[in-house]
C-alpha cells in the first residue's frame, strides 16, 4: 500500500493523500488527465478496474470521486477531482482508459451536469433530452411544474455531442451521428418480452446481423438516490429491496454494514449468521429464476416452471421469517428485524435435500440439449480483459475468467470462516455464464449447510439509538450481490439524513457492454446475450 502512495507522490507532488479508510488522492483538475493515465498504465500502479464514479455536489464546488481497484494486487484507491465552476463544470474524460467510464460519465453528466471533455457520447443517460435541470444537484428545482408528466412522445435525436478543448481552453461542442444515415434501425423495447424489464435497444441491423446497438435506459429511473437524501438512515433501507428485487438481502446487508461501520455499531454473531444465510438463500432463488427466464428467452418455456418450484420453496422460508415474499426489509441497523421462524432450520434442510436433484434435472432437460448447446456455445464471447475494462462483475465476470467474488477478494461478515469455491470459467460465452450460475447454486447450498446446524444463540439485534446520527465523513463498501459487485458510497455531514448516498449497481455495466459483445451476431443472439448478462433494469436505473 505504501508503495502506491509513494509512487503517486513521486509522480505528482501536488497530490494530497488521506486514509479514508480507502486511500483517497486529491489532485487539481488539470493534472487528472495525466494521473489517470499513470494509474491505468504505470506497471507499479496498474489500476485496471474502475468500480464507479461518484458525482458530488459540495455546494461550493462540484466534482467526482473515482473508485479504482487493481485486479492483480487487489489494492483499492479513490481519487477526488473537483471543479469550482458551477455554471459549466467540466472534467477530463477517462473513457479512453476504462471503457465503462463512457457510461459512468454519462450518468454523472445526467445527474450533475458535469461535462466530461473527450467523452465521445455526452448525452443524458436516464432522463429524456428535454429534462430541465440536473436532479442530484443540491439546488435542483423539484417543482413538478418544471418537468410535468407528459404523454407526448419523447423527442429523440440521432446525434451525440463530443466536447473538446480548443487552444485557448474553451469548450467546443461537436455533433456526431449515432447511426449511419442508411442504417436499418429496429427499435427493441422498452416494452418487449426479452429485455427483462423496460430497457430499450435501438439496433442497426443488416438482414439478421447486428451492426450496432444504442442502449437507452431510464424507463424505470425512480431517483432513489435523491429520495434517500430526504430520509433518515433507517428509512433509506427499504429502497434496497426495490433495486434488484432478487438481491434484496445482500443489498440490505451492504447498506446496513456501511451505516454500522460509520456509526461504530458491532452486531451479534447470530445476526451475522442470519444475514449470510439469507444472502445465500436469495442467491439460490435469484439464480433459479435466472435459469428459468433465460431458458424461456431461448424458447424452452417449460424450464421456467421447473425452476420456479425451487424458488417458491425459498420464498416460503423467507415468508415465514421475514413476513413477505419479495420486499422483505429484513436486515436493519444493528442486526435483523425479527428472529428466525421456529421451523426455519427444518425448512432449509428440506430445501437442501431437493436442490441436487433439481440441478440434475435442469442439466438433463436443458444444458445437455443439442439445440441449447448450439445456441449458447461461443455466443457473446467476452474476454477477461474486456470484462475488467467494462467492469462486468459477478457471475458474468467470473465466466470470463476474472475471479471477482467480493466474498473472496474482500471478505466481509463471516465469509472468511466459510468453505466454498469461487466458480470461475474461462470460456466467457453465454454457456459459461449459464453454467457459472448453475454451479453457484451448489456452492451457496454448501455455505448454507455449513451454517444451518451452527446458528449461535444470542440477540438478533443490538440496541441502536432511535435517532441515528453519523459522524462527518464518507464510506464506501461493496458486497457480492446476486448479479455482481454492489457498492454503497455514503457521505454524511453529521445529520440524521445522508448528504449523499450513491448506489453502485452491478447491472449498469452488464447492459452497457451489450453493444460491445453483440456486434456481428444475429438478432436471436441479442436475446441470448442479453439474457445471459442477467441484468435487472430497476437496478441499473435506480
Amino acid at each position: 500500500m505504501a508503495t502506491i502512495q509513494e509512487t503517486i507522490t513521486r509522480l505528482f507532488p501536488d497530490a494530497t493523500i488521506e486514509q479514508n479508510p480507502i486511500a483517497q488522492v486529491s489532485v487539481p483538475a488539470q493534472q487528472w488527465h495525466k494521473l489517470a493515465y499513470e494509474l491505468r498504465h504505470n506497471p507499479e500502479l496498474d489500476f485496471d478496474f474502475l468500480v464507479t464514479i461518484v458525482g458530488m455536489d459540495w455546494a461550493d464546488k462540484m466534482g467526482c470521486i473515482y473508485y479504482l481497484t487493481s485486479t492483480k494486487t487487489n489494492a483499492h484507491l479513490s481519487v477526488k477531482v473537483t471543479t469550482a465552476d458551477r455554471e459549466n463544470p467540466s472534467i477530463d474524460s477517462v473513457s479512453h482508459l476504462w471503457a465503462i467510464a463512457t457510461i459512468f460519465e454519462r450518468e454523472v453528466y445526467d445527474f450533475f451536469g458535469i461535462i466530461f471533455v473527450g467523452n465521445p457520447d455526452m448525452r443524458r443517460l436516464f432522463l429524456s433530452i428535454d429534462w430541465k435541470g440536473y436532479p442530484l444537484r443540491k439546488d435542483y428545482d423539484e417543482n413538478p411544474e418544471v418537468n410535468p408528466v407528459t404523454t407526448e412522445n419523447e423527442r429523440q435525436t440521432d446525434f451525440t455531442t463530443l466536447y473538446t478543448r480548443d487552444a485557448y481552453g474553451k469548450l467546443v461542442a461537436e455533433e456526431k451521428r449515432v447511426f449511419e444515415p442508411d442504417d436499418f434501425v429496429v427499435n427493441i423495447g422498452p416494452q418487449h418480452p426479452a429485455t427483462h424489464g423496460v430497457l430499450r435497444f435501438r439496433t442497426a441491423v443488416d438482414g439478421e446481423t447486428i451492426k450496432k446497438i444504442d442502449v437507452y435506459m431510464g424507463y424505470i429511473h425512480r431517483g432513489i438516490e435523491k429520495i434517500c437524501e430526504k430520509l433518515t438512515y433507517p428509512q433509506t433501507l427499504h429502497f434496497m429491496d426495490r433495486l434488484d428485487y432478487f438481491s434484496a438481502h445482500p443489498y440490505h446487508h451492504c447498506l446496513c454494514m456501511t451505516i454500522e461501520q460509520a456509526a461504530g455499531i458491532e452486531i451479534s454473531r447470530r445476526a451475522q449468521v442470519i444475514r449470510v444465510l439469507m444472502d445465500e438463500l436469495s442467491r439460490i432463488a435469484s439464480h433459479c429464476l435466472f435459469i428459468g427466464t433465460y431458458c424461456m428467452d431461448l424458447g424452452a418455456t417449460t424450464m421456467l416452471f421447473y425452476t420456479l418450484r425451487v424458488r417458491e420453496q425459498i420464498l416460503d422460508i423467507m415468508e415465514k421469517t421475514c413476513g413477505a415474499r419479495m420486499t422483505f426489509n429484513y436486515e436493519c441497523i444493528g442486526g435483523v428485524m425479527q428472529d428466525l421462524a421456529p421451523d426455519f432450520v427444518d425448512d432449509v434442510k428440506a430445501l437442501l435435500d431437493v436442490i441436487p436433484g433439481n440441478i440434475k434435472e435442469y442439466n438433463k432437460i436443458f444444458t445437455g440439449n443439442v439445440i441449447a448447446k448450439n445456441r449458447m456455445e461461443g455466443v457473446g464471447r467476452l474476454s477477461r480483459e474486456d470484462a475488467i475494462d467494462w467492469s462486468i462483475t459477478g457471475p458474468s465476470g467470473r465466466a470470463s475468467g476474472w475471479a471477482c467474488d467480493v466474498r473472496k477478494t474482500d471478505p466481509y461478515s463471516i465469509y472468511q470462516e466459510l468453505e466454498f469455491d469461487e466458480v470461475v470459467r474461462t470460456e466467457g460465452d453465454a454457456m459459461a455464464r449459464f453454467k457459472v450460475r448453475l454451479d453457484e447454486i451448489t456452492q451457496s447450498a454448501r455455505i448454507i449447510s455449513q451454517l444451518i446446524d451452527n446458528i449461535p444463540e444470542g440477540e438478533y439485534c443490538v440496541k441502536v439509538p432511535k435517532v441515528l446520527k453519523l459522524p462527518v465523513g464518507s464510506w464506501f463498501r461493496t458486497v457480492e450481490g446476486c448479479r455482481g459487485t454492489f457498492g454503497i458510497y455514503l457521505e454524511s455531514d453529521g445529520n440524521t439524513k445522508p448528504y449523499r448516498l450513491k448506489i453502485v449497481p452491478p447491472c449498469l455495466p452488464a447492459a452497457a457492454v451489450v453493444d460491445h459483445i453483440t456486434r456481428g451476431s444475429k438478432i436471436a443472439d441479442l436475446i441470448t446475450i442479453g439474457g445471459s448478462m442477467d441484468y435487472i433494469v430497476p437496478d441499473m436505473d435506480r
Partner: protein, 202 residues
Amino acid sequence: MEVTTKSMPYEAWKDNEYIEKLVAELQGAGTNVIVGSLDKLINWGRSNSLWPLTFATSCCGIEFVSLGAARFDMARFGWEVARSSPRQADFIMVAGTIVHRMAPVLRRLYDQLAEPKYVIACGACAVSGGPFKKSYHVVMGCDQIIPVDVYLPGCPPRPEAMIYAIMQLSRKIKVERFFGGVNRQEKQKEFLAAHPIEEVND
C-alpha cells in the same frame, strides 16, 4: 342482481356495494329481452377470456410470473395466453412503477390495445406512486395517464391478490352492456378527451 364468478360466493367479495351501484347505473333503464340475452352471451365470452399484455416494469412483474407458474397457475381461469402484441391483448396489468420517461410509452401501448380494453393498476407504485412519493421522476399513479378499472394495492401484491383483482375485473365486465345504454366505453372516452395526445407523424 348478484354478480359473481364460479366457486366464489357473493358474500365473499369485499366491495359488493360498488358493483351494485354499477349495475343500477348501467341497467337502470331496463333491457330488451333479445338484446339483453345477447349482451349476456358476449359478456360471458369477454369475462371468461381475459388475455393479459406482457407488461412489467419492476417487482410486481416478477410476482406476475409467479402467478403464471405452477403454484398459482392463472391458466385455470384462462388468463395464461399472455400476448406480447398489444393488438391482441385484452388488458394491461400495469405491474410496477411508471416514470416520466415511460409515461408516453404506456399511453401508446394503451392506445394500441384493441377495444374492449381494461387496465389494472397493480402495486402501490402504479396506484399512487407508492414508496417513491418523494421522487422527481415518478408518475404518482398511472391513472394520470390512462383510465384504470381495478386498483390493486400491495408492494408487491401477492399472486392471490392478483387473482382477486382479475376476478374483480371479470365481474365488472359481466355487468357491462354492449348494445345501448350507458357503458364504460363512454366514460373512457370522456377520460381520453380530457387527456389528449398529439397526432404521431412518423
